[in-house]
Symmetry: C2
Subunit: 112 residues, 2 copies
DNA sequence: ACATTCATTGCACAATATTGCAATTATACT
DNA sequence: AGTATAATTGCAATATTGTGCAATGAATGT
């Protein structure tokens, strides 16, 4: 690819390292909130919608993104859809990120 | 905030959960490549530039983002700047993400 | 002080991400 | 089959991210 060409944007479609897409799924306040909510156990859409105070379509898309990287799975019970964590290791990830962020803030504090 | 208002975009500046910003730093092919390169040891800008084949300014910004979340630190040696991993735990994160992604692909394969 | 060299910032453009509303699709239930 | 309800998709608007070039800034060496 010519270096002079401006490509812009993020990852030019779905191409590239699947891990960046994976981390992207975690790089959102709303999606983190959803994951933390689902940590309590499976929840239906209504519960998630009223918790996050966003349009149903937005929630649907966030959930779809989380499903597309294997973090969340869905099942139906009667009329309503339920969503649940599909890989509990995501909380190891979040917890480690929390620690790392906290430690870094600590380092910053000490520096000033 | 009125619900009808279209806010668009990602996280409206630096606000919100610092962890989503943290994950954002990892949600990039280029930045992952930089981190994996720095895993070998400290590298100067030239080495990173020629490895990634991007403009120096782009590398500078990626590195700045990684520094802003405490993943990378910089030091100067003579004229040139060196960059190094500032929190080795980032590789635990990447490795776990790699495993999780692989396992999920496996699950997908088995489903079809 | 001056020049050189490297890193960063300002700017513009391209592309993606997030959101809300409206319309559509899917699926229980009668 | 028909209807009602819930979830998803299409669309448009807006914010943010990624990139390259040019200009600026910072620091070293003469």
């Amino acid at each position: 690819m010519p270096k002079g060409m401006k490509m812009g944007g993020r990852m030019m479609g779905g191409m590239g390292d699947p891990r960046s897409r994976f981390f992207m799924a975690l790089a959102s306040d709303q999606r983190l909130r959803i994951l933390l909510l689902l940590k309590e156990g499976p929840k239906n859409s209504q519960e998630i919608i009223s918790e996050l105070n966003l349009d149903a379509s937005v929630i649907s898309r966030h959930l779809m993104m989380l499903r597309n990287v294997g973090l969340v799975s869905a099942y139906k019970e009667g009329v309503t859809m339920f969503f649940k964590i599909d890989d509990e290791r995501v909380f190891q990830l979040i917890d480690l990120a929390t620690e790392m962020t906290k430690d870094w803030l600590q380092r910053m504090q000490n520096a000033f």
